[in-house]
Symmetry: C2
Subunit: 165 residues, 2 copies
């Protein structure tokens, strides 16, 4: 039995557990970026007409748990990046941590054979389960990279990109 499990794992390019850990590692880094912003600048600092990092964070929160909920349930949900999470960084971080747990719970409900299933997320985004989740992660990395520039213009050293602990 152990040999069978080992063989299956070796045959996977990436296992569901590694994929989840990859996502959560990125979310831990994003959490540190949120923490690195001064309270006011999290909600108000922006460059080149772009959104403040709080607004980007709302987008990330609108994708992660709602997207995975849709993948698990098969029921189309709303993509709403204007949900109100409060007026403080602490409230955003509390929501972030709640979603960390929900992501773990939802992930456990995605059977391995579903990653190649074709889906349409939020009623409009076509892909497979794996490509959709990769998109969630890529989009988070993309906006967080922008947050790094915001922090640099505030003379704040961003967290190490390679630290996902």
């Amino acid at each position: 039995m152990e040999n069978t499990i080992k063989k299956q794992t070796e045959a996977q390019v990436i296992t569901p557990e590694q994929f989840l850990e990859h996502y959560q590692g990125h979310r831990r880094l994003t959490r540190r970026v949120i923490e690195a912003f001064p309270e006011n600048e999290f909600f108000n600092h922006s460059i080149g007409g772009m959104r403040p990092f709080a607004e980007m964070t709302k987008e990330l929160l609108a994708i992660a748990v709602p997207g995975l909920t849709e993948i698990v349930s098969g029921k189309i949900g709303d993509f709403d990046e204007n949900r109100d999470y409060g007026k403080t960084k602490a409230q955003f971080l509390e929501k972030w941590d709640e979603d960390t747990e929900k992501i773990n719970e939802l992930w456990a409900q995605i059977p391995e054979e579903r990653y190649q299933e074709h889906i349409t997320l939020f009623g409009q985004y076509e892909g497979t389960v794996q490509s959709s989740i990769l998109y969630f992660i890529d989009n988070e990395i993309h906006h967080r990279g922008q947050g790094y520039v915001y922090l640099r213009t505030l003379d704040i050293e961003p967290p190490f990109f390679y630290d996902r602990s």
Copy 2:
């Protein structure tokens, strides 16, 4: 035989071919970001004391083919982000396209069972083949996201993030 192949593909969270296409899709988007910069600003524009996008591009070029070459050959190579690719965007794009082909060739030499193999890249970065390649991609998304901010501050509309064609 067809059924067997289908079954194997369904069991993979992500296949090697999908993983390569994911990487190359991101590289196509990064190529468009390089193209979007005016010649001078590609080499000189920066924000918050960060590197111009040409320097970030040098880092991406220093990782992709050299990293995959090391994975394929097993021989430790140099991580050198100061290689000279010329003084024009056109020269960078030519190198980018050469590397696109090399990545395809190198990828074909990574057997499926190697993705879970533990490696130390450039003599110092520990991980598996899959986590190392994911890092190449994540790092590219991260810096390209910063390039988007650079373009916005130059009043240039960046390419659509979701377009990987």
